[in-house]
Symmetry: C2
Subunit: 214 residues, 2 copies
């Protein structure tokens, strides 16, 4: 096997991409054949390069990581996507895997894990960093919120997250490039699904699920 594994990097932060490029290249097994700063670029790049794997951050401007995964997988159901995210919360992991990712590691995991993970998903395995899924198959008594949330559509989830962070509906609309009425409608719908009355309670749910840091 003389051929290196080809990879593309997707992250909105150039410094992070540079670092990961070095990290990946250092092993002599992997070659980074492309970089993208946002989802739309990544999709296009994928179709041009057809790399063996995609290494992708979740938080990005524009369509965001989850949606990017969905679109790539939609175009090539064999695509191997490894998520590396700052989020270590279960909700993000399960949503990423549901979207079609084959692996999930966090940004502060051991550097070796990155090549390990890539090797694993190249073998057809599904690689999730140790500990990230432990709460998931445990029969947790409470928190049907978690379950409800996991069934949210991408848009619902985005609107939920941004509202829960404390943004006004108007700002959410700007960020997602939607009409304010649209966001308002989603908000109403989300509150109904989670059976709460106020946006503040959405924040509490997000906090309780550990979705919000700092």
């Amino acid at each position: 096997m003389n051929n290196k594994i080809t990879a593309v990097l997707v992250d909105d932060h150039a410094v992070v991409r540079a670092g990961f490029r070095l990290l990946l290249s250092s092993g002599d097994k992997i070659e980074v054949v492309g970089e993208a700063a946002r989802g739309e670029q990544a999709i296009q790049l994928y179709q041009e390069c057809r790399p063996d794997v995609v290494v992708m951050d979740l938080s990005m401007p524009g369509i965001g990581g989850l949606e990017t995964i969905r679109r790539i997988v939609q175009r090539d159901s064999e695509a191997l996507i490894l998520v590396f995210s700052v989020h270590h919360e279960q909700v993000y992991v399960s949503r990423a895997l549901n979207a079609g990712a084959k692996g999930y590691i966090t940004k502060n995991s051991a550097p070796e894990l990155l090549t390990e993970a890539i090797a694993a998903i190249m073998r057809g395995e599904c690689f999730v960093e140790r500990g990230l899924l432990k709460n998931q198959q445990d029969p947790q008594p409470s928190n049907d919120h978690q379950a409800i949330l996991a069934e949210f559509s991408p848009r619902e989830f985005d609107v939920f997250r941004l509202l829960a962070e404390g943004m006004t509906a108007q700002k959410v609309a700007d960020q997602l490039c939607l009409g304010h009425k649209t966001v308002a409608n989603y908000a109403t719908q989300i509150k109904k699904k989670l059976q709460v009355d106020t946006t503040t309670e959405l924040a509490h749910i997000a906090v309780n699920l550990g979705m919000l840091q700092r």
Copy 2:
């Protein structure tokens, strides 16, 4: 000193009162001369009994613990009030002391601490459970929120707390027996002081200060 220390107990939960009555009486130094389930009763009881100390929970229906402390101290500036609360957060401690309490211990502190605390405040000392105030005089770099919050008027603080919990302005108005316009005005004022735009951000502040449990 043949005379026992006289005390009144204030807590909205009868079981808790019963337990504490036993606990206090067991030492042979203290005699419980009265009990009250809520602030209004407590104030009346205090004027009738004039006990040496008042042992009081903070969370109560009606006017609440802080307001009760204020009103008792207002009528008798020599009153010795010991707060025992479930809350171990700095904000509550400092507000209780500002309101006029002479001591603060939490409900899961060692039982001996209760008699110790009473003895201390009887000697004219101010007794705060170890560790509860440690963050306060530390020059903390961040969190001016804490400072701003500590200067809130009683009403501002109540409105803030209830809004942060996720109540609608209308429900807050009902709870505090105010007009909805009044609550709305307080809400605007509070947001301005804390320099945020949304009620959701108030929740985040409360969470970050550890004011909200579960």
